[in-house]
């Protein structure tokens, strides 16, 4: 089933102008979405803004925005000021620079969006090929639905992707932290740890993991809808043991050898 584009724009830099469509790479189906219902008649509730002091309902068009300051006051903003905050609407995805992919680590990544060609497949795949041949990622800036985004323009296999980036200050870089200290590690133990890591090495098969909780909830909903009562056994608790690190490394290695 083809997905619907959520936005259209044009990638621009230098003489380049490539029209693209944007698609969310993450389905919105994550988790289970419930509605709140009035128990008596099972009708979805309606949300309204209320002044808790007076109990008065305030219509949405009369709701104002205010910024709470540190000294316990509220700074009210008017329409004009809120309009000032809105970025200028544009269809441009402006690429401000290109960098080596390693420069934008995935710690900056927020949400992935696929780009698809809007008009010409030729231009789209020419841009993809240029990114590949130059081994670069672009830093992109665009305004989508009244909000300004910064993103990385990159290749996902053979297609273009825009990965939105977190803002400066939102990422705590490992380089700003100091690793835990202690006595120098024992060479023999490092060796054993390496052996253990390689003994537990396997292929990456992320497809095999599923959101089991979500599946169980949906199963419950289905069962209830059809009038059945289901029981779900819980996963057994894992047992724990404590011993010295060296002993555990040795035992772990033995165990993995046996099972290999």
């Amino acid at each position: 089933m083809a997905a619907r584009a959520i936005w259209k724009g044009r990638i621009r830099f230098g003489d380049v102008d490539v029209p693209v469509k944007l698609y969310s790479a993450v389905k919105s189906t994550g988790g289970v979405h419930f509605r709140l219902l009035h128990e008596k008649d099972l009708v979805p509730v309606k949300q309204q803004m209320v002044n808790p002091a007076t109990g008065d309902v305030v219509a949405y068009e009369d709701v104002r925005r205010a910024y709470p300051t540190e000294d316990g006051r509220l700074v009210m903003l008017d329409e004009e000021e809120l309009a000032e905050l809105e970025p200028e609407a544009s269809r441009d995805i402006e690429i401000t620079r290109f960098v080596d992919p390693a420069v934008i680590t995935h710690q900056w990544y927020d949400r992935p969006y696929y780009l698809g060609p809007d008009d010409s497949d030729a231009d789209y795949f020419a841009l993809a090929e240029a990114l590949r041949s130059q081994e670069k990622e672009g830093v992109a800036r665009w305004v989508m639905r009244n909000k300004e985004y910064v993103g990385a323009l990159r290749l996902e296999d053979e297609h273009l992707m825009l990965m939105t980036l977190r803002h400066a200050g939102e990422v705590v870089p490992a380089s700003a932290l100091k690793a835990p200290g202690g006595r120098e590690l024992d060479k023999r133990e490092i060796q054993m740890a390496k052996q253990l890591v390689s003994a537990l090495e396997g292929d990456l098969d992320l497809e095999s993991y599923r959101d089991e909780y979500r599946e169980r909830v949906l199963e419950l909903v289905e069962a209830k809808a059809s009038g059945k009562v289901l029981k779900f056994p819980k996963a057994p608790a894992k047992k724990k043991k404590d011993d010295s690190l060296s002993a555990m490394l040795v035992k772990s290695l033995e165990a993995t050898k046996k099972s290999a």
């Binding site: 790479a25 803004m49 709701v63 104002r64 000032e84 905050l85 290109f98 992935p112 841009l127």
Partner: protein
């Protein structure tokens, strides 16, 4: 996704770790504490009445036109248009995975093989026990061999799939999206690649190479919308116009909130739980090493944000307070999840 939950939880990231547990693999167990590695810096606005009274979201029955109490509200899953299956808190609790403090590390993989699309949120892991040896051993080994550990663990009634990565001697747990949450180009219906014309590629390469830089410009990553908002607020505060006193419960004092960075540094230095500041924590003033210009900038960004963050925390604590019992808190969260579409939730103007 428990996205909303987590965003709320970030407010709790003060001196205390976010979660603590034990990495287990083979027969080895390594106690660790978890701290968020991302923090939301977005400045958010409150909804108020025309005379500045803070407003609260309440639930009404559309047919009876009256406000409902929490115990009159149930959760329903829509199976067909306007047809709901009611699911109770008790039923959901029974479906929750077994509570465990284990981070069950199942296998090691080549860290570079993980498609970055999977990464969702990051948490720093710090040594939790008295000894840092096992922690350092695993971190060193993974870093040197460029391996990542794939693990699962249960936090707040939900099972997470994570990749444990080591960088700079510090381990980080990154929650991963489930494969069936992600779309493929085929799912979307993107066209199959065609071989582009060499001349077209050349032309693009020419424009591209002119824009190549070595580093990111951190100014490009600033949250301009929040900065602009703070500017307007400062202007109004100076003029004193439209500034009203908030009722006491509307704005929590920001005192006593410890910066996430500080908590992390303490925990890495091995004195998280005591909270006491020893000589080691003096590293606070230690300048960031290596590419100093960049790190320094980051540091500053962190500092400026600290005050915003304090305000934020205050706000979220407050809104959490309105829902008093555990049950209502939970329902409130679900309500949010049910309602929210992310872009709307982030926009200051129309917060859901």
């Amino acid at each position: 996704m428990a996205d909303n939950d987590e965003r709320e939880d970030e407010g709790e990231a003060r001196a205390r770790p976010f979660w603590s547990g034990t990495i287990t693999f083979g027969l080895v167990s390594i106690p660790v504490e978890l701290f968020p590695a991302n923090r939301s810096e977005r400045v958010s606005l409150r909804m108020v009445s025309e005379d500045g009274a803070p407003l609260a979201r309440r639930y009404f029955c559309p047919s009876e036109e009256r406000e409902l109490d929490w115990d009159e509200i149930v959760r329903g899953y829509e199976i067909a248009k306007d047809e709901f299956v009611v699911v109770t808190d008790e039923e959901l609790e029974r479906l929750e995975p077994e509570k465990t403090r284990d981070i069950d590390l199942r296998r090691f993989v080549n860290a570079a093989d993980i498609d970055p699309m999977y990464f969702e949120r990051a948490y720093y892991l710090t040594p939790g026990g008295n000894s840092t040896k096992a922690y350092r051993l695993l971190a060193r080994t993974m870093e040197q061999t460029e391996r990542a550990g794939i693990a699962t663990f249960v936090m707040r009634g939900k099972e997470y799939l994570i990749a444990i990565l080591a960088e700079n001697g510090i381990m980080r747990a990154e929650t991963l999206r489930f494969a069936d949450e992600l779309r493929s180009p085929d799912d979307i219906g993107l066209p199959a690649p065609i071989k582009p014309k060499a001349a077209a590629v050349k032309a693009i390469e020419k424009s591209l190479t002119k824009l190549v830089e070595k580093q990111l410009d951190e100014d490009e990553l600033t949250d301009r919308a929040s900065a602009q908002l703070l500017k307007i607020v400062a202007r109004k505060q100076r003029s004193g116009k439209d500034v009203v006193d908030a009722p006491e419960e509307a704005v929590e004092p920001a005192a006593g909130v410890i910066d996430l960075m500080e908590a992390l540094k303490r925990s890495l230095a091995g004195n998280a739980s005591s909270g006491s500041v020893t000589g080691k924590t003096g590293s606070k003033a230690k300048p960031a090493k290596a590419d100093s210009a960049k790190s320094a900038k980051k540091k500053n960004a962190g500092k400026v944000a600290k005050t915003d963050r304090a305000k934020k925390t205050a706000k979220s604590t407050k809104s959490a307070r309105t829902a008093k019992t555990a049950k209502t808190a939970k329902t409130a969260k679900t309500a949010k999840t049910a309602k929210s579409s992310k872009p709307a939730a982030r926009k200051p103007r129309k917060s859901a």
